[in-house]
Symmetry: C2
Subunit: 195 residues, 2 copies
């Protein structure tokens, strides 16, 4: 997605060969015009997938998901993150380890909002080691819901998350897929999907 | 706001005289169509206030803020919540106590995103004891930014937060202001502002 890649090049800060900071438009300050374009792009890519719900995770997945949900005409459910969860019978739960923060969180979704009739698009801001997306996929399995795919704003394609998920036969659509952050430069993989 | 009040009456669950659960459309599952209407309503009410930024707090403030930001043509900044914060020179910070969860969180905003040139609209999902809104107001004071007012999706008008903020001379616009949750029924204050 051209607009997004331009924004990453203009405003992204390469902090190391592993870390790209995009808090001017995605993770702390959010650009609503860009989020609308991103949401519409996800909706276009998954428009024939019969999506009934979008599942994301707090907090940075919520903004792009809102516009995808609006365009597709479906509700958005966000998984809650907790250090540790008071167990409740009415929750799907999973564990998500963050390598960046070196902490493991429980994530949870109420059973009221996803069930076996649902065809779910997972959306998240970043895909690196894939732990968040895999945790959300586990929740869909618990719900016996159909996983229609994973929409990612920025994939760090040099890390293993994308492969882990694609190897399971799950469709992954990344709007910007980063090949390398070496020498303080962002380079992207070529896009195969064109919308 | 009629659409919102209807939704609260239809889907809100009164758990006690103090607690209203609205996780079918605002706090866990989110209705994008309603969020768009809410965002546009905030934008309409504050359209002449010269807003340059919206400040909200993760996670449930983000969705309505996105649409207000889109309509007003301004970025959204969300404050991050942490149990305790690693201090950094580049952050505005404040403490927010949650009476519901009986815990105090540090909230923070990067100094990169709000400064003394900004005219800021604060948006949040709920106003009860006012702790979150007061914490966000404190951050605006640290930034020497102008506080244009507070936009609230659901005010629990029988609690003290609204008075605490209005007494400081700050404009508060609540799209639904709840008078009482007694007897399992939601009753609203009459609206004074009409948009």
């Amino acid at each position: 997605m051209k607009l997004l890649k331009e924004k990453i090049v203009q405003e992204g800060k390469v902090l190391s060969e592993q870390v790209l900071k995009v808090d001017t438009f995605l993770n702390h300050q959010i650009d609503p015009v860009l989020m609308q374009a991103i949401g519409e792009e996800f909706a276009a890519r998954f428009k024939d997938a019969g999506i009934t719900k979008i599942l994301t995770i707090e907090s940075s997945g919520i903004a792009p998901s809102m516009f995808a949900g609006l365009t597709l005409g479906v509700p958005v459910v966000f998984a809650r993150k907790r250090k540790s969860l008071t167990l409740s019978g009415n929750l799907y739960t999973s564990k998500v380890h963050s390598f960046t923060k070196n902490e493991t969180n429980d994530i949870s979704v109420s059973k009221d909002f996803i069930n076996s009739d649902d065809v779910v698009l997972i959306i998240d801001d970043f895909l690196a080691n894939g732990q968040a997306a895999l945790g959300l996929m586990e929740i869909l399995e618990q719900a016996n819901a159909q996983n229609a795919g994973v929409g990612i704003v920025i994939e760090k394609g040099f890390q293993t998350g994308g492969s882990l998920i694609r190897e399971k036969g799950v469709r992954v659509e990344s709007l910007a897929n980063i090949k390398s952050l070496e020498n303080g430069q962002v380079t992207f993989f070529e896009e195969t999907a064109t919308v």
